[in-house]
């Protein structure tokens, strides 16, 4: 492996380090958690921490200086590594920082692995009940939302007056009103038309999420379709393809390249918005975390677990999205 050339510090870098140093000193880190880490090094110079001693500003300055040097050395070393290793190393460092941040809370994260009479750890219950519900509600909803979105996008692009009107009304209403109120409209409002409209909680939630996200996706789909250059239509026409075939074989595959990344975005947003269906009593990830947490007054601990699970699910879908993107991007690769 070839190491990168060590390059001399630029003006921007020196300025950056100086700003970092000033911020770190301003934070007065001498007696904080990081200052505590440096205590073995600094105690011989300044005396031991605690015991009600006032921490001298010299100690704050020295601590800030040492931290700045450590950070700068870290980046200087990273630059010597090949690009993929740089990325991996920085991810690892940021993850460790996040873990340190979480573990610095005065909270008992052991509750994740406690199990009661059910013989299932809280974390296992959170995944089997909450994460499972969140996943299947989101996946079904995004599927239906795509159908709504494609219909609405074609409606907006159509020359038919009523189709255009219905599509624009739908998009405007469901983008313009809060998802929570749409959930109420469907769950509480619809049954007042008649008992046969009294949908159960999960179908109501799926309907609300599909309608709402369908409206957002409709604009994404429309942008993707009009983003395909008009020459493609002309070329298809010249080849004698009819309109239907042109759309299916020429326009849509090229539009997909533009549609996929923002759709992945919407899906990840939906994963988290699906927590709104909990108002109808559906135990998805957030609700389940709160329910378990409330039992032992450990809500924050369980919410941290839920946050990590959401994140892991999102990462999996980011990877899937990049595969789909690569598939539809084939034509652009050189």
């Amino acid at each position: 492996m070839r190491l990168r050339q060590f390059c001399p510090a630029s003006v921007a870098e020196i300025a950056g380090v100086a700003v970092l140093l000033l911020i770190l000193i301003w934070l007065e880190p001498g007696d904080g958690k990081t200052g505590g880490l440096l205590a073995p090094l600094l105690n011989p110079l300044f005396g031991s921490l605690g015991n009600g001693h006032e921490v001298s500003s010299a100690r704050h300055i020295v601590t800030g200086l040492l931290l700045t040097i450590a950070l700068w050395l870290n980046f200087a070393t990273l630059r010597l590594l090949p690009w993929p290793l740089q990325v991996a190393a920085v991810w690892l460092e940021l993850l460790l920082l996040f873990a340190a941040f979480v573990s610095s809370f005065d909270r008992d994260l052991g509750v994740w692995f406690e199990s009661g009479r059910a013989g299932q750890t809280n974390l296992a219950y959170l995944i089997s009940t909450g994460a499972f519900t969140t996943l299947y509600v989101s996946i079904i909803s995004i599927g239906i939302a795509c159908v709504f979105a494609m219909t609405a996008a074609l409606g907006r692009l159509s020359r038919s007056g009523p189709a255009y009107a219905i599509a624009t009304f739908y998009i405007s209403f469901f983008r313009g009103t809060p998802l929570l109120l749409q959930v109420y409209l469907i769950y509480v409002g619809l049954p007042q038309l008649g008992r046969e409209f009294a949908l159960d909680a999960v179908p109501s939630g799926i309907l609300a999420l599909s309608l709402c996200y369908g409206a957002y996706l409709a604009e994404i789909f429309r942008a993707g379709i009009i983003g395909v250059p008009h020459g493609q239509h002309d070329a298809a026409l010249a080849l004698g393809l009819d309109r239907r075939l042109t759309f299916r074989k020429i326009i849509l595959p090229q539009a997909m390249r533009l549609i996929v990344p923002p759709t992945g975005n919407q899906f990840i947003a939906m994963l988290k918005d699906s927590s709104l269906v909990s108002v109808m009593g559906v135990w998805e990830l957030t609700k389940t975390a709160q329910v378990i947490g409330k039992r032992d007054f450990k809500v924050f601990e369980m919410l941290i677990a839920a946050a990590i699970i959401y994140w892991l699910i999102s990462i999996v879908f980011e990877l899937i999205q990049s595969r789909i993107e690569a598939y539809y991007g084939k034509g652009r690769q050189r």
């Binding site: 009661g116 109420y184 409209l185 509480v188 108002v279 009593g281 709160q290 329910v291 039992r295």
Partner: protein, 282 residues
């Protein structure tokens, strides 16, 4: 008790829908709920799964608590099975349950505005409301709480008490006086969220919380650094709620709750969950 009052939201929504569709709101037919319960042999109750010790998920991952036990006993006396659903408070208090569930045993205070939306066939216990401070606080009497920053649930009866506009229009409501004038009232989605802010330290965000005494005691049992101050500020009746329109079903519930009061069942459940008898006015 600690729940938000029926929000303007749901009534506005109902109104908007009704107007938009020019259709009258549907009302349950007489006897419909009771027929459904007896026919399906299932009594479905709504409850909050995040409200220990009234209702919560126990360590066997089953619903448990005082409210749940009361619900189970009502079902047993009707000779049917109990099923539990957990819709949000706003959904329950919006009324028009469309037969999705039959009753709410959810520690609900039968206030006037709620009684326009729901029926309250029977009061099953009374909850004392109390102030609590951080263990490091110097406050020892209710008078010392005047002018302090007090946290509680938004739109609930505690919020109303602190604002000196509490109206509980049920029968047998014990009288009370406004003993504390808060310097600032901070409201939360539920009162237990206020505990978390008080937990950060005395005066960091809050000087005190105002909440249900049993809930405060449960929090203390779970290691929250809280201390109850003074005697309960007021007692609040809590009732079983049903959807409007089924007098037969309501009569049945009232009869069962009266019997549970008379034969000491409710007292026994109160002793089990609260360690004190909260089923009669103190």
């Amino acid at each position: 008790m600690t729940k938000t009052t029926l929000t303007g939201l749901s009534s506005t929504l109902t109104l908007a829908l009704t107007l938009a569709l020019a259709l009258p709101g549907s009302n349950a037919l007489a006897g419909e709920t009771l027929d459904r319960v007896l026919q399906s042999k299932t009594l479905t109750m709504s409850s909050d799964p995040e409200y220990p010790p009234q209702s919560f998920l126990n360590d066997a991952n089953e619903m448990d608590g005082f409210d749940i036990d009361v619900g189970k006993e009502i079902a047993r006396r009707m000779g049917v099975e109990l099923a539990i659903v957990t819709p949000g408070w706003e959904i329950i208090t919006a009324g028009h349950w469309a037969g999705r569930w039959d009753m709410s045993v959810g520690s609900m205070t039968p206030t006037k505005s709620r009684a326009e939306i729901l029926d309250f066939p029977a009061i099953y216990y009374y909850t004392p409301a109390a102030f609590a401070v951080h263990t490091e606080s110097s406050v020892n009497t209710l008078a010392e709480l005047n002018g302090k920053v007090i946290g509680t649930c938004g739109g609930c009866t505690y919020d109303a008490y602190l604002n000196k506009e509490l109206v509980i229009d049920a029968q047998n409501v014990p009288g009370f006086e406004y003993q504390v004038t808060a310097g600032e009232i901070k409201t939360y989605e539920t009162d237990t969220n206020a505990y978390d802010d008080l937990r950060l330290g005395d005066g960091v965000r809050l000087d005190a919380v105002f909440s249900a005494l049993p809930t405060i005691q449960e929090a203390i049992k779970n290691g929250y650094p809280l201390r109850v101050v003074g005697a309960p500020a007021f007692y609040e009746p809590l009732a079983v709620a049903t959807d409007k329109g089924d007098a037969e079903f309501n009569a049945r519930i009232a009869e069962i709750i009266a019997a549970m009061h008379a034969d000491g069942t409710l007292k026994k459940l109160s002793m089990k969950w609260y360690g004190v008898d909260l089923t009669t006015v103190q």
